[in-house]
Symmetry: C2
DNA sequence: TCCATCATGTAAACAGTTACATGATTGC
DNA sequence: GCAATCATGTAACTGTTTACATGATGGA
């Protein structure tokens, strides 16, 4: 058994926190996240849940009386163990190194663009990153305990990106 | 034409900076990156380069005299325009929101784990994140100008993650 | 009554990974 | 001579996305 993949871990984690909940609620959690990394599309979530169910990591109720055909999901004991292993793998170097930032990826290509493009890049990126920071902060609302501190990580990162782009812009204006 | 995808933009950007260069050099740039987000595997890079060449975004020299069959890549004028558009899209909200952090993804699941698992998580994650910060800092060596400032973003983010996990650990020890 | 949202899913296409496979060159 | 690295690529698999498709519920 090769352990949970990234999206699998995220999804089992969401179900564990919200159980019992519908697949739709899992999708909402993904689509409402400040990060767009996971789309939360039906095409990704439903087949994934089917796999998790076949593997015995989650269970689903069948309620014929429910008009919408709602199915309530829960994490099985096996799923809890898998989720714990996945969660505690945060100490592995390759997990800590698993990060991605689409703005930073673009910044490298500025080297071969003229100064006016560089400034435009930094001004527009700073604006977008500031908006993103506001979104991340708004996402703290109503959270407490572990959930609050976990979401706080997103705010720390968003703030760091704003600080970085501010310094970047200053350097560009100084003729870098 | 739907614009460059994420990996396409990254790869065309690498070629633009290093041209003329081999596909292998592009792979090395990806595998040597502190982030493990892109594997830089042959199976991802070679088919991608073939697509880019077919689309006329990059060109490759054929040198029969070269024993290793080396092919030198360059970005075409069309590719430069596509790269510029991709780079300047950093101001779009969905690009600024395109971030991912595997440690933070795991942190949410702590809610349903006992205190001793929470502390273990934070201690081990802090250790791994500190190592990652050191790696990010080492990646600044020998860089200057735009490249330095772009790489600096990785250091800012890595530092923010360390700061966050430090606070997280303190909160957990305080009985959160 | 109508619209937004809740709620389920499927199909085709594509992207990316792992694993496999081969051979040349360089430095010790 | 040998090992590490340079350098190319392919095949099978899996996961994810986009787009399509249907219907129920609740509130204005």
């Amino acid at each position: 058994m090769p352990g949970l993949s990234e999206l699998e871990g995220v999804v089992v984690g969401i179900i564990r926190i919200k159980e019992p909940c519908t697949a739709y609620a899992v999708r909402r959690e993904l689509t409402d996240s400040p990060s767009t990394h996971w789309s939360g599309s039906a095409g990704s979530v439903y087949p994934l849940l089917e796999r998790l169910q076949r593997a015995g990591l989650i269970t689903a109720t069948e309620d014929k009386a429910d008009g919408r055909g709602r199915r309530l999901l829960k994490v099985s004991p096996l799923g809890r163990r898998a989720l714990r292993t996945w969660t505690l793998s945060a100490g592995k170097p390759e997990v800590a190194a698993s990060v991605f930032d689409a703005v930073r990826a673009r910044a490298f290509a500025l080297k071969k663009l003229p100064p006016r493009d560089r400034e435009r890049f930094a001004v527009e990126a700073l604006d977008a990153l500031s908006d993103f920071l506001a979104t991340a902060k708004a996402h703290l609302e109503g959270r407490e305990g572990i959930e609050y501190f976990a979401a706080l990580g997103g705010v720390y990162e968003a703030q760091a990106r704003v600080d970085w782009m501010t310094e970047f812009l200053a350097a560009i204006r100084a003729g870098q």
